[in-house]
């Protein structure tokens, strides 16, 4: 049962006695006289659940993933100033200088670049959209997209290193990656063209989306369409079947996680039957925290924070392509891909659902624990 794994992932602030429910309760009972009549319950069984509960109160594996990672040493940004307090006048002066540089020099430069990059995208793709379908059109469209993303990457002072480029996602495949922020798209698209998937927004985002789709096919959904899983799956299938279209980029976690772990992958994209190209993205938090805490910051304040950091430094690893194996179901396949990404990026591999950011946990996990405990006291049925 993989939920046992779920409960026992090691933490840093408390040291777990890492045993399964059976081992721990077994140890508790060893010192207790064994019962004779049916039913193997002892009063100290409650200690196991009590201890696990208290450990999760002191530190749990899930809630920490939805806030920014803590740094070991301060990087002169007050936003990461959790456990550092006033040290000396000199440090404060250096910090003040940093603020001036970041807000008065770097920020205006970066905003200018970002505006240039996005305008280039909108104008360029609209113009290309006027051309008839041809190889030239595709080539120009790719060029425009990549140029825009490169300009945007400069706007964030992003320093990206790509590893294993030979595994770069190919047409007709689906690229999956761990999700930390909307900037992931810029990071990946700097090195190739992808077909994006997502909901059509209003406002500026909508303008960008609509112009992008004029020059090359992306998969944009209306809000109502997103609910219909079959319709979504069909459109994705049609896209990957067409070998002239770019690989689809999908973030199966469905929400932004703080880049210390990879959370549950939704199985939808693994059910299509296409080749999966896993990609691991790991940001170095020392120069700037890329995580978007959407509960705390809206898009604009998030971008402002990005553009007033020192830099965005990250590593991208392209992993060898994976496909559904015989007899494997989509959930198992999704977990396999997730583990590969976690291993490569040095991230914690969690079974928890990123949706727990906003929703309550499923009762079925509690029921599984109750079932396991029951079988311990009355034996297998």
């Amino acid at each position: 049962l993989h939920f046992n794994h779920l409960i026992m992932q090691t933490t840093t602030a408390t040291q777990l006695d890492d045993g399964s429910m059976e081992e721990e309760i077994g140890e508790l009972r060893r010192s207790h006289p064994k019962s004779l009549a049916g039913g193997d319950f002892t009063l100290c069984d409650a200690f196991y659940f009590c201890k696990k509960g208290i450990e999760s109160i002191v530190e749990d594996q899930v809630t920490q993933r939805f806030t920014s990672e803590e740094l070991a040493s301060w990087n002169l940004l007050t936003r990461t100033n959790n456990n550092f307090h006033y040290i000396s006048v000199r440090v404060t002066i250096i910090w003040g200088l940093g603020v001036f540089i970041r807000y008065c020099i770097l920020l205006p430069l970066r905003v200018t670049l970002a505006v240039l990059g996005l305008s280039w995208l909108v104008i360029g793709t609209t113009l290309v959209g006027l051309l008839p379908h041809s190889n030239v059109k595709t080539w120009i469209s790719d060029l425009i997209h990549v140029t825009c993303y490169r300009i945007c990457a400069r706007a964030l002072s992003a320093r990206i290193r790509y590893h294993n480029k030979e595994n770069h996602p190919k047409k007709g495949g689906i690229c999956v990656a761990n999700h930390t922020s909307p900037i992931d798209i810029v990071i990946l698209a700097n090195d190739g063209c992808y077909a994006m998937v997502g909901q059509i927004h209003g406002g500026l985002m909508g303008v960008i989306q609509r112009s992008m789709v004029r020059s090359c096919p992306h998969v944009w959904f209306e809000r109502s369409e997103m609910k219909d899983r079959h319709a979504v799956a069909k459109r994705l299938k049609d896209h990957v079947a067409d070998k002239t279209k770019q690989p689809i980029l999908i973030f199966p976690e469905g929400t932004c996680i703080n880049n210390t772990s990879v959370m549950m992958f939704k199985k939808g994209s693994f059910d299509i039957g296409a080749t999966i190209y896993p990609v691991a993205i790991k940001y170095d938090p020392q120069f700037g925290d890329a995580f978007w805490n959407s509960g705390k910051y809206n898009m604009v304040s998030y971008l402002l924070r990005m553009m007033t950091s020192w830099a965005i430094v990250c590593n991208v690893w392209y992993l060898p392509p994976m496909s559904l194996q015989d007899g494997e179901d989509a959930v198992h396949f999704a977990n396999r891909v997730k583990s590969a990404i976690a291993r490569q990026g040095g991230l914690v591999d969690l079974f928890w659902d990123g949706g727990l950011k906003r929703e309550k946990v499923k009762e079925s996990y509690k029921e599984e624990q109750q079932k396991m405990y029951s079988s311990m006291i009355v034996g297998q049925d």
Binding site: L28, S35, I54, I57, V58, V62
Partner: protein, 198 residues
């Protein structure tokens, strides 16, 4: 998070918190870490935790005894717990070895003594705080731990057998001293302690 620090430094007189807290938890860094955790759980930012704040922790929400554990933090009839109460409850789970570092003869029995750890566990069962675990109370906790997987009859006979084994004065309930006697060989210090690192 910056506000957390300005809170600590200017509003709540951090050194006073540390001083009072160090009677409960010795290490400065442990206290800071727990305060940081308390603050991150306190979504309403009002300096106190409610039951909902605890239930937001998924691992606790799926713990069969989750509600009872959460209950242990709230004093009789209250639905808010402040940082001091939070620490006091967690202090029961400090390892016993920690006491070696802080020998204060006037402090009385420390919260994390074997006795107090057992009392904490006893109170998980004894919901009405009448210092006895009745058959009903035992059945309630059993039902929480097994869910729907065991029939009422079977659970009833398990409860009866447990009380029979422990009950020495024939009142069909388990008192605290009977509870201690039954568990005298169990390594309570290890099983009811967690390591608060750094």
């Amino acid at each position: 998070r910056w506000r957390l620090f300005s809170d600590l430094l200017y509003k709540h007189n951090f050194s006073e918190i540390i001083q009072r807290a160090s009677k409960i938890f010795v290490s400065h860094s442990q206290i800071t870490r727990l305060y940081s955790r308390f603050h991150s759980l306190d979504k309403g930012e009002n300096g106190a935790l409610s039951r909902e704040d605890f239930q937001r922790i998924p691992e606790l929400a799926i713990n069969p005894l989750g509600d009872r554990i959460i209950n242990a933090f709230f004093p009789e009839g209250e639905d808010q717990v402040n940082f001091r109460g939070f620490m006091r409850t967690l202090a029961h789970f400090r390892p016993v070895e920690d006491n070696e570092k802080n020998k204060d003869p006037s402090a009385g029995e420390p919260l994390n003594s074997r006795n107090n750890k057992l009392l904490f566990a006893f109170r998980l069962y004894d919901l009405d705080r009448d210092d006895k675990i009745s058959r009903d109370e035992l059945l309630q906790v059993l039902r929480m731990m097994v869910g729907v997987n065991i029939s009422d009859e079977q659970l009833g006979s398990i409860a009866d057998r447990t009380i029979q084994e422990a009950d020495t004065n024939g009142d069909m309930c388990i008192s605290f001293s009977e509870f201690i006697k039954v568990l005298e060989k169990v390594d309570v210090e290890q099983k009811m302690s967690i390591r608060f690192l750094h």
